[in-house]
Amino acid sequence: MTDSVRQKADTTEIWIGAKDVTDVMRTLHDDEQFRFELLADIAGVDTGSEMWVVYHLYSTLTPDWLRVICAGLSREDPRVPSVTFLWKGAEWGEREAYDMFGIIFEGNRDLRRIYMPADYVSFPLRKDFLLPDDAARSPGEGFRHVEQTHQPAEHFRQPVLRQSKLGSSSAAALDELAADTEKATS
């Protein structure tokens, strides 16, 4: 019985690289000593310099959460093996991480955007995606609203059908962006 109620640090953490994900996860899931059968969460993270994929696992054999951090993914081309061969339910979690961060999960059969429309081109949860009305962090010099940090593969590329309405001061920048987009899609 706990006398003082507090949230404890009840998490074990391990760090791995993208090449080890398949083996580590398979061992954690299948091995009799571990039996982490429940994937509690799968999350993408953009630290500003690199991408992470963070898994949280649960096993009946231990009272701790197991946090597996797959770190060191490049921001230009983040690629990590999919864990859908163990947990089919990770499929949507990976789709979400792809949609929000552009992380490519190799082996996921259904890797497409899940929230954003199909003609959307940027990745909203990346740190360099600033909200247009973000007064708190905006450098104040202009917009980076529809910037393209990551280009999808050639045949996935879609034209930008909608442009956000920006102030007249940034009209020149908008023209420049439209020209860029045209160049990229033609």
């Binding site: 109620v5 949230q7 969460d41 999350a43 953009d46 089919k88 929230y115 973000d134």
Partner: protein
């Protein structure tokens, strides 16, 4: 290049024509983006695609499901999400930790006491903050009341999707009493914004307690009445029993949690698996069922309501005196670190992975919504069933689109 103007024909998805399609057509007006999408939108003889939603009442929000049907049978389906996407995680990163509480409120809008706890509990874990016991008891009280309200609505909705109107009205009566009660406590009916980092917004008041006592005196009776209405109703049982059967392995592989998982026989409840708040001091059982069908999920909800009432009873008897807020500065700078917290919401494990960089804003606030993962099961459960039964199966998974679309 004229390639960008070529879209799929509505008559034959394998043919690309130059007529633009609208977003309401079942077949997307662009080439397939993934292996699975190509497979789904390729039709065999006799198959056709129909849209269910996004404005269909039985989708419990704005969920669109493209059904591939052969006659009345569902062959395959493709849920299309995002109609309610607001980017809550991004908004939370741009406000401070206190703003995140009200931003997380509308995620699970039927039981928002649970979703608003996400930034609160993760901030407390990062701060290693001790919360006054009275505040913890009040939290548990609010959570369990909200669980009963949510489950009451679930039973009504399930029956409504099967064509029965009466239970949903009864469910709303039950829920309305609780919602009014919580409004007397928090000031709001739906999005309470009541929990605070370090405690709760305000102490219990007379209006709330008198309503609660009033409700507790007849809650058990009302549940028995509701169950008499449905439990042995021939139509209800025939349309739920044996339908949408999940087995243990599949449920685990689909990362499910909450009642759909416990209906397959796995007693995974975060209140016991990873005890938080004052749950270790309370006596309650984790009801499970082994059938794994829609009817088992329905019965499980009733059992859980009984357990919740048991918890509320204990909480009211053991409620300690004292402050309801820890001493926390207005401007909180959370120490750098990573924290994972999970609580048991009416729909399953509501979890949050928070990262802080030492500023007053969350660096990353990842919300894990149980309905998002539970909804994936429709892809396994629905094929082979009639279109009309897909409603019953989807309703028995109890998805809330506010949380799914974030």
């Amino acid at each position: 290049m004229t390639e960008t103007t070529r879209v799929r024909s509505l008559d034959d998805p394998d043919v690309f024509v130059e007529t633009p399609a609208t977003i309401f057509d079942a077949v997307p007006p662009y080439p397939p983006r993934s292996e699975r999408e190509a497979e789904f939108y390729h039709l065999d003889d006799g198959e056709m695609l129909i849209n269910l939603g996004p404005q269909h009442p039985s989708t419990h929000g704005v969920l669109r499901v493209v059904l591939k049907i052969d006659g009345e049978k569902v062959v395959d389906l493709d849920p299309v999400l995002g109609y309610l996407h607001r980017g809550v995680e991004k908004i939370c990163e741009n406000g401070d930790w206190h703003h995140a509480i009200s931003n997380c409120d509308p995620l699970e809008y039927v039981a928002s006491m649970f979703s608003e706890a996400m930034p609160v509990l993760s901030a407390e874990k990062l701060l290693d903050l001790e919360v006054p016991r009275r505040a913890e008891y009040i939290r548990v009280l609010c959570w369990e009341l909200n669980r009963v309200a949510s489950h009451a609505l679930f039973m009504g909705w399930l029956a409504l999707d099967l064509g029965g109107l009466t239970p949903v009205l009864w469910g709303f009566i039950e829920r309305d009493e609780i919602v009014e009660m919580l409004a007397a406590l928090t000031g709001q009916r739906l999005l309470f914004n009541y929990l605070r980092i370090g405690g709760v917004n305000r102490d219990l008041n007379h209006d709330f307690l008198s309503r609660l006592g009033d409700w507790m005196s007849r809650a058990g009776n009302q549940i028995e009445q509701s169950t008499r209405l449905l439990n042995e109703n021939e139509i209800f049982v025939r349309r739920t029993a044996g339908l949408g059967v999940l087995d243990r392995e599949t449920a685990l592989r689909l990362c499910m949690s909450g009642p759909p998982l416990r209906a397959t026989g796995i007693p995974y409840d975060v209140r016991r698996a990873h005890p938080y708040s004052v749950y270790p001091e309370l006596e309650f059982d984790i009801p499970t069922r082994t059938e794994g069908d829609s009817y088992a999920r329905y019965l499980l909800h009733i059992d859980e309501v009984r357990e919740s009432i048991r918890i509320i009873d204990q909480v009211l008897h053991e409620m300690p005196d004292g402050p309801v807020m820890a001493k926390v500065p207005r401007l909180i700078r959370i120490p750098p670190g990573r924290a994972f917290i999970a609580i048991e919401s009416p729909r399953g494990q509501y979890a949050c992975y928070a990262m802080s960089d030492g500023s007053d804003q969350p660096f990353r606030l990842r919300i894990h919504d149980p309905s998002f993962f539970n909804l994936q099961a429709v892809g396994v459960l629905m094929p082979g069933n009639l279109i009309a039964d897909t409603m019953a199966i989807m309703a028995s998974l109890d998805p809330i689109m506010g949380g799914i679309d974030k």
